[in-house]
Every structure is written in C-alpha cells, then in structure tokens.
C-alpha cells in the first residue's frame, strides 16, 4: 500500500491501538496534522507542549497504556524536555513524535531547528531520527515495543518534515528484531529458592514495595503473598496503592516523610525485600546505614538497578509477574499459619510502633489544615479516586493522609519532582479513565506553573476537580528554610494579588474559595459530586510542616516528629 509518511504515522498509531494523542501543531508537523485532520484521529490540544507531555504521562500512568505525544521541531520539542525527564525517572511508557526541519536544512541552524535527539539521549529509553520515509514503520513499531516492554520508558521519534510528505510502501512489521534489546521476563528459579530459604531463617522480614509493582500490574499477587505470610510491608512514594492502606500488614510509606513505624522498621529488619524499587536517596536517607542489620534481596526487571545504590545479597532479575508468581507458589508449600506465626512478634512490634506514633496533625486548629483536607477527600471518595498531585508539601500530605486502595490511583512525579506536573497529568488521566473520579491536588506554586491547562480542561469539559492547598508560599522550600536556613524565606513567599477563583472562572472552570473550617465538608462533597470541572482554592496556614521529617543525609530513625 502506497502512503505518505504522515499517513504511515497514523497507520502505525492505529496498529498500536492508540486511542488518543496529546499534541501541539507547528511548522514541521503541519503535514502530519493535515493527516490527523483528514483521518479525524482523536487529538487533545493542551495549551503548552509541556502540558501535552505531562498529559500523555498522566494518561499512561492511569491506564497502563502507552501515552502518545506530538510536538513540532525546535521550541515545540524542547518544551517537552521536562516532561520526558519526568517520565524517564518514573519509567512511564510514552512515545513522543517530534517534527524536525527538512533533511536539506539539517545542521544549518535552520528556523526552529534543535538537535532533539541529542538533547533527549540521556532522558529517553531510546530515540530515533527518521530522514527516510521507508524507515518509518520499523522505527514506530520498535518505539512502541521498547516503550512498553522491560522497564518501561519514553521513546522519542524525530521525523524530518519532508518525510511526512514522502511516499513509501507501507507494511507494518510483524516482528521485532533488536539484537541489543531482549528484555528479561523469566529470571533464575534458583534465586527464588534462595529467597525462600532466607525467609525461613528470617525473624523480622520487611517487604519494601515500589513503583515497579504498579508498572508490572502485580499488586494482586503481591497482596496474596503478604496476606499468606503476614510479612510487614512498607512502600515508597511510587508504591502507594499497591497494597490497601487499611491492610493490617501495611505500615505506610518510608523515607524522608515516611511513617514512624515504617522508617524505624528499616533500621530493625533482618531481611529487607525490595520489589521494584530504586533505593532513591529520598527513601534511604543515610545510605551507609540504611537497613544495616538486614540482608537485602532486590527484585527488579532492570539488572542495572541492583547494587546501584544499596548492595544486595540476593538479586532476583526478571519481570515481577514471573518472580512473584514463583515466590507465591513456593511459599504456599508451607502452611500460612507457620509463616504468620514466625513473623507475628515482629509484626506486633511494628503495630505497637504504629499505635505509639501514628501520623497526626492538630485537629483542634481553627484554620483548615491541609491534612484535614486530604482526609476529607479520602473519606468522600472512599479511597477510590485517581489522585494526581503536583510536587511539594501537598504531595507529601496526600501521600500520608489519603487512604489509597488500588494501584494507578496516585499519580505523582516521584523521581524528578516536577512542579507543574499535576494539572496537565490530571487532564491526561481523566481523558484515559473517563469513568473515574480524578482529583488534582496542587500547591499554589506548582499550580501557576501550568495553570494555562485550565483552558483545555474547561473546553473539553473534563469532570476533573482541582484542589489548591494555598498557603501563599512555596511550602516545601519554606519548610526547609524554616528548619535549616534560619527562617530566611528567600523568594519562597508568593503572596499575590492574583485571584485564583477569578483566574479559573476566566478560563472557564467554575471555582470557589474556601477559608472556613466548618464549610470544608459540605463544599468538598458538593464539588466532588459536581459534573463538570471545578476548582477549589483552599486557604491553609503558612507555617504548617510536613512531618515526620528525616533531615537530608540522616539515618531513617532520626525523625523530626510532629503532633
């Protein structure tokens, strides 16, 4: 079949069952956009390319499918960078299509020319530059395959403008042949046996669950193992929702703002089993003393993650679907009661820690406290909403106080910590899971970084709810300045004459300001039950801290406690 390059791109998207693309047109992709127009392909237009890439990311996180994003050459492509890096750090599958100047203009500093392949090399799983139309189908096939298999990640395909108009004989490859890319699925069964024998010996084992469990959709089998064995479980920020918050074996998130019980358990455990985690510095605290009484077992699909930060005694490389199935089968050789009996004293100890110092805040405050907002949203949605956050204090309060029940219900920029992520990512998530309640929680700082997307949300009439926890400060920056920089609030005060309610209304999203504590429940109930988009600007105190807090570089049991 003879087609143009632009038609070929659309055909590839159809072959990959892409439902929608997030993009922004421009010179180098005009031919492609003409074809999107002619084929009536579903396309969402954010108001900034950064919005497009975050939206594709939110769509991918919420649905588990590959997100697709399109931008033009030069500034269009460079506006994607932060979003690509965000997705790369959190292993989110996205295929990014960028236009490039025509082949004849390459390398001449032409209008809107940028070496996007060079620029994105360290922040993509792989990338392509297509200057010959005949290479297009193979590259697209590989791009989708690489993005979603193995450890997922963003893949960029940069296509010269003339390629979109050039003709080619279209045939979508049936198979993939990449000599240098064979993602592991099955690992070494002996490693599972080794894990089993360590578990038999352990007194204080601890499951540490990360984003890899979400990405591999293995929360169910992981929960089975936990329920069967009674092994206490903690999560990273990215692992929230993989196990229900009310599970008696669950002891919360660990790390800089982790729970008392969770953080303390890492210093006491004798067998720490990491499942799809990176051992990020925000989680480990002082690396040399992280879990220093424990043997460490690391389950991961990416061999390069093992021994990168924390040294492992046993590595289990492979897809968690393979390894956790195998582990569960092996563990059921021994009765459940024997496992739970073996670990009961340890679990009881952790439960005692949890009861001794739970996550608390001042419920007597006359003001609306952010923690109360999160708790209320959690109650109203019964932990079943898809929660999307920006980055900062509100993100940590959400992680601490929302009672997550399911994976893919907490979408947040964990690795890169990207302010401005929340609103566009929530938009993408809502497009992907139209039947679900999606709530975006952001701070007043991060909100302003991508507030232009209110326009897109209004025009699409997405039923997204936006909650701004507004303390007139870059809250997390201010918290650090309060704690470590002698209360020098250097440029973290963002008190403004801007009226967020009017701003929102001007962009087409109805909004309300909320200051009175007694109105919190009724307003939130009404807003969450409403049909279209809605924004609530909630005024919270300036000086509320996220606690507990482990100072940067301290051991995890060195927590500044609250309450």
């Amino acid at each position: 079949m003879k087609v143009t390059g632009a038609q070929a791109v659309i055909e590839c998207l159809k072959k990959e069952n892409v439902e929608v693309v997030f993009g922004y047109p421009g010179g180098a992709v005009l031919t492609l956009y003409d074809e999107l127009y002619l084929s009536d392909f579903p396309h969402i237009l954010p108001k900034h390319e950064q919005g497009a890439i975050h939206a594709a990311d939110g769509y991918a996180r919420a649905t588990g499918k590959v997100g697709v994003c399109i931008a033009t050459s030069g500034p269009g492509a460079t506006n994607l960078i932060t979003g690509i890096a965000t997705a790369y750090m959190d292993s989110i599958p996205i295929v990014i299509i960028t236009g490039q100047v025509a082949v004849s203009l390459i390398g001449r500093d032409s209008f809107q020319e940028a070496d996007i392949r060079g620029i994105t090399t360290p922040i993509t799983k792989h990338n392509y530059f297509i200057k010959d139309a005949k290479d297009l189908p193979k590259a697209m096939k590989e791009a989708f395959y690489i993005a979603r298999t193995g450890r997922p990640g963003p893949v960029l395909v940069d296509i010269s403008k003339n390629v979109f108009a050039a003709e080619l004989e279209f045939e979508y490859p049936e198979t993939i042949n990449l000599r240098g890319y064979r993602p592991v699925y099955d690992g070494d069964p002996e490693a599972i046996d080794a894990v089993y024998s360590e578990l038999l010996k352990a007194e204080k084992p601890l499951f540490f669950v990360g984003g890899g469990v979400t990405l591999s959709d293995t929360s169910d089998i992981m929960r089975k193992i936990v329920a069967y064995s009674g092994i206490p479980t903690v999560t990273s920020l990215m692992g929230l929702g993989c196990i229900a918050e009310d599970d008696p074996n669950y002891f919360g998130m660990i790390g800089m703002h982790g729970t008392y019980a969770g953080n303390l358990s890492t210093t006491e455990t004798d067998l720490l089993i990491g499942l799809g985690v990176r051992f990020d510095d925000r989680v480990t605290g002082l690396l040399n003393e992280f879990a220093d009484k424990a043997k460490i077992i690391h389950f991961d699909i990416d061999a390069a993650e093992v021994n990168k930060n924390v040294r492992s005694h046993i590595k289990v490389i492979g897809n968690l679907q393979w390894s956790l199935d195998k582990l569960y089968a092996k563990m059921t050789e021994r009765p459940s009661s024997e496992w739970t009996g073996q670990f009961r004293p340890w679990r009881d100890k952790m439960t005692a820690w949890m009861n001794e110092k739970p996550l608390v805040y001042n419920t007597d405050s006359e003001r609306i406290l952010p923690q109360a907002v999160i708790e209320k949203i959690s109650e109203i949605t019964q932990g079943n909403a898809v929660i999307v956050t920006d980055v900062g204090q509100h993100q940590m309060w959400t992680a601490q106080f929302y009672q997550f029940k399911q994976p893919r219900a907490f979408l947040t920029s964990g690795g890169l910590g990207t302010m401005g992520y929340g609103l566009p990512a929530a938009m993408g998530a809502q497009v992907g899971v139209s039947g679900k309640k999606v709530i975006c929680i952001c701070g007043d700082g991060g909100f302003m970084m991508s507030c232009q997307e209110l326009m897109a949300i209004a025009d699409l009439n997405l039923p997204l709810k936006i909650i701004i926890l507004n303390n007139s400060y870059l809250g997390m920056v201010a918290q650090w300045q309060r704690t470590f920089y002698n209360q020098h609030y250097a440029h973290s005060c963002i008190k403004t004459k801007t009226d967020f309610v009017k701003l929102s209304e001007a962009m087409g999203v109805p909004a309300i300001r909320l200051e009175k504590k007694e109105e919190l429940k009724t307003v939130l109930e009404k807003v969450i039950a409403s049909e279209g988009p809605f924004l609530v600007d909630i005024r919270i105190p300036e000086d509320e801290d996220v606690l507990p807090m482990v100072p940067s570089g301290a051991r995890l049991d060195q927590m500044i406690m609250g309450g």
């Binding site: 090399t121 360290p122 799983k125 240098g180």
Partner: protein
C-alpha cells in the same frame, strides 16, 4: 583496577555519543575509548578502558551500558588471555645533531619514522601503553611537539571471537 571492555554496538549514527554521554553522566572514570568497523558491516566495536575501584562499579558500568538498545554485547576482556595494543604518532624535534640518536631510539623500540623534515621527525609506534609511555619519556629530551594516541584496542587469543563468547 583497570578493566578492558569490548563493546559490540549497532553501526548507527549517534551510538558513540550515547555511550560516551552515559559514561560521563554516571561519573565513571574512563581511561580510553576507541571505536572502529569490524568484520560485520553493521557492527562497530568499541574498546573501553575503565578504572573501577571495586566489582560494583564495574557491574554498574556493564549493566548501564547493556541497557542501551544499540549495545549488542559487552565482554570484559580483563581476566582473559588477550592481546592489546595502542598506536601513537609522535612529532619530535630532530636537528642534524640529534637525528641519529632519535633514530637509534626508534630502532630499539621497533618503531618507524613515517615523516621527516629539517626540524622534526614523526615516529609511529604500536604496543602496549607502557611501551609508548617509555618511548615518550626518552624522546622528551629532544623536544616532543605533538603526540596523538588511539587508545587501547584489545582482542582475545585463541580461535573464539568476542561475539561468540
């Protein structure tokens, strides 16, 4: 400890940039990197000499490089029975008075003079790094104007090729 890695990669534009970029981003210490065509037209072989304090650093280098889609295979040649060589071209000041002495040194090292003029000679030497270092040290007395070295390339002895290991 120094490790010699043979990295077989797809012969595509941008691969060498990708590899050298990854190495610098992850702060690995690289002594040398040398790339060239191989017996297969679609494959390039890169020899990397990396300084690794312990096995974990080496493991990270190998694992991180292996993740690149265009990297087909990595072989650590360090413990193996192998031949490794480097090529150097050295431009040395050579006056009528000193030229004979320089030629003498060239002879001893089994090097070659590949260019000569009134003021200088260019010496070509192949060998292990130590040998090149030793000759440079001797030639320094006469005034070295320019040195260019290829970095190490290495190959295993015996009939088996790296891609079959």
């Amino acid at each position: 400890m120094k490790h010699t890695l043979a990295v077989l990669v797809e012969n595509k534009p941008g691969v060498l940039t990708h590899i050298s970029g990854l190495i610098s981003r992850r702060a690995f210490n690289i002594e040398s990197i040398a790339a060239g065509y191989t017996e297969e037209p679609d494959m390039t072989r890169i020899t990397i000499v990396v300084e690794a304090d312990d096995e974990y650093v080496l493991e990270q280098v190998v694992n991180q490089l292996s993740k690149l889609i265009d990297v087909i295979k990595i072989i650590d040649l360090t413990g193996q029975d192998r031949v490794h060589r480097e090529l150097a071209l050295i431009k040395v000041t050579a006056t009528p008075e000193t030229r004979a002495d320089i030629l003498n040194i060239v002879e001893i090292f089994r090097a070659h003079v590949v260019d000569v003029n009134k003021e200088t000679v260019i010496v070509q030497l192949t060998g292990e790094e130590r040998k090149i270092d030793a000759m440079c040290e001797l030639l320094e007395d006469y005034g070295i104007r320019e040195i260019v070295r290829t970095g190490r390339i290495a190959i295993c002895r015996g009939p088996v090729s790296a891609k079959e290991v």
